[in-house]
């Protein structure tokens, strides 16, 4: 079985982003970029399926500019066999990404598509679900456990107040939660070897799919500030403030 893993290049999760002075967007020039953490869990899950003999080939794909090759190299260094860059110089929104991935799935015919449950830049959490809809596949989102049994993906999903277990007929689309696994550390020799693995570049326009954005970014701003913290000296003062000032205690 072939696995397709979609990854995204995002601002590194340790970086606090800044807003451009005109408020038009966040400032990404010079920011350190990395593979989206949830996508790294998806790659790790794919590698484990290959190592356990369930999968035969792992193909990593991303949608983005030429620079997005670095996250494909990361996936290759984790063990992916080959990678595909669906190149687009303009930002593509989730529905557009899902449409491009659908076209690639029809070309590559994987038995399973894995993605991270959301990206940590625009926090959208919808590409996997949209891809499953367009392909008319079953979906398993926010998964924290995965097994392939009798042509189904048996997954544990993180929901409010606990978890649920569902079985999704293959081919399927799954999205990874952070709890799915601990991604392997990429060692330098693997990074060197990854440089020899093939990355195929396909222009997003080659598919003839409309990926123009449906949402316009009006502006970005800092989150609304909370009022300043009142420091209290002891528990008695805290109780008194909560009772008389905040009114949250009887």
């Amino acid at each position: 079985m072939k696995l397709l893993v979609a990854v995204k290049r995002v601002v590194d999760h340790n970086i606090k982003v800044h807003i451009k002075p005109d408020g038009s967007d966040v400032e990404l020039a010079g920011a350190r970029m990395s593979i989206n953490p949830f996508d790294e869990n998806a790659v790790e899950a794919a590698m484990r399926l290959k190592e356990s003999g369930v999968a035969t080939e792992v193909v990593a794909v991303t949608v983005g500019p030429a620079a997005a090759q670095d996250v494909l190299r990361h996936a290759l260094a984790m063990g992916a066999d080959r990678a595909i860059l669906l190149e687009s110089s303009k930002a593509v929104q989730p529905l557009g990404v899902a449409r491009l991935l659908k076209a690639l799935v029809e070309r590559e015919q994987p038995g399973l598509v894995l993605l991270g449950k959301q990206s940590i830049d625009d926090d959208t959490c919808q590409t996997g679900q949209m891809l499953a809809a367009l392909l008319d596949y079953g979906q398993g989102t926010f998964i924290s456990a995965l097994e392939i049994e009798n042509g189904e993906a048996v997954v544990t999903r993180e929901i409010e107040g606990g978890t649920e277990k569902i079985a999704v007929t293959l081919p399927a689309v799954l999205t990874a939660d952070l709890r799915l696994n601990e991604p392997r550390y990429v060692k330098l020799p693997n990074l060197m070897m990854a440089k020899k693995k093939p990355i195929q570049t396909i222009s997003a326009s080659e598919f003839g799919i409309d990926v123009s954005p449906r949402l316009a970014l009006v502006k970005v701003a800092d989150p609304p500030a909370r009022r300043a913290c009142v420091m209290v000296d002891n528990v008695q003062e805290l109780v008194e403030k909560l009772r008389s000032e905040a009114g949250v205690l009887p």
Binding site: L95, D123, Q129, E160, E164, R179, R214, A216, A221, V248
Partner: protein
Amino acid sequence: MSVLILAEHENQKLKPSVAQLISAAQCWNQTVHVLLVGNDLAAAAQGAAAITGVASVMRVEAPHLQHPLAEDVANIIAGMGREYSVILAAHSAFGRNVLPRAAALLDVEMVGNVVEIQAPATYVRPIYVGNVFATVRSNDPIQVVTLRASRFDAADTGNNAEIVNLTAPPASAKTRWLSEMRNPSDRPELGSASVVVSGGRSLGSAENFESVLAPLADKLHGVLGATRSAVDAGFAPNDIQIGQTGTVVAPELYIAVGISGAVQHTAGMQDSKIVVAINHDPDAAIFQMADYGLVADLFEAVPALTAALP
């Protein structure tokens, strides 16, 4: 045109988010329909019909919808969605699972985790784990939106809307529901609790969560929460995790105990009405999120606070 609200329910009861979505929907000045998908929905349908601002409750009932799966619910929404100009759901595990699928079937982009509706197609949503608030405008003919329900006041009750029974389409049969594991708790559900007492890794052990934090939570009739690092350390179960990778809460009172205030965590509690932080480190970032701060050893301050409460 009208607004369609995908209602969430559990054990025949509506979730509190439904009344919050109904109040949020009033800004469109259109008739509001509530969609209920499941099995044995009589009580939930009555509950939805009683909420002020609802014109009709659309009830889709079938045995195979006992545990509604994304494939089936999205098909139902897509089948009726073109008659609506707005489709809303809560930004919960359920809403996030279903609504993007429905949006793609309707060929529209979705706007997720909206905290403010500025104009009928202009929304504010947090990005970068809540570090940045983006204002976006949708150009799609149908607005498909998940809302952070806790940001909106609940609508009142006292209504008696019509209940319309709709026939369920056959099961998509791509996915089978197998089981669910709910972590047993006598305390209220985390997402709708009015008081949350939350602990970080400096609690030190699962035993301390129970012996130090739980008495305070119980005295305040609240629930326990935990940071991701406390969950990863094995001090607390994952279903009480609050933050970007856990549950988002907005209680009346949030007490953060031994929590540094990483954005991973604060993304899940920043809408709380009153935040109290207790931490031994006066420079902890959590104090920037708090209304009241106490620099103290939590193992002394928390039992003292519990004892000082009536």
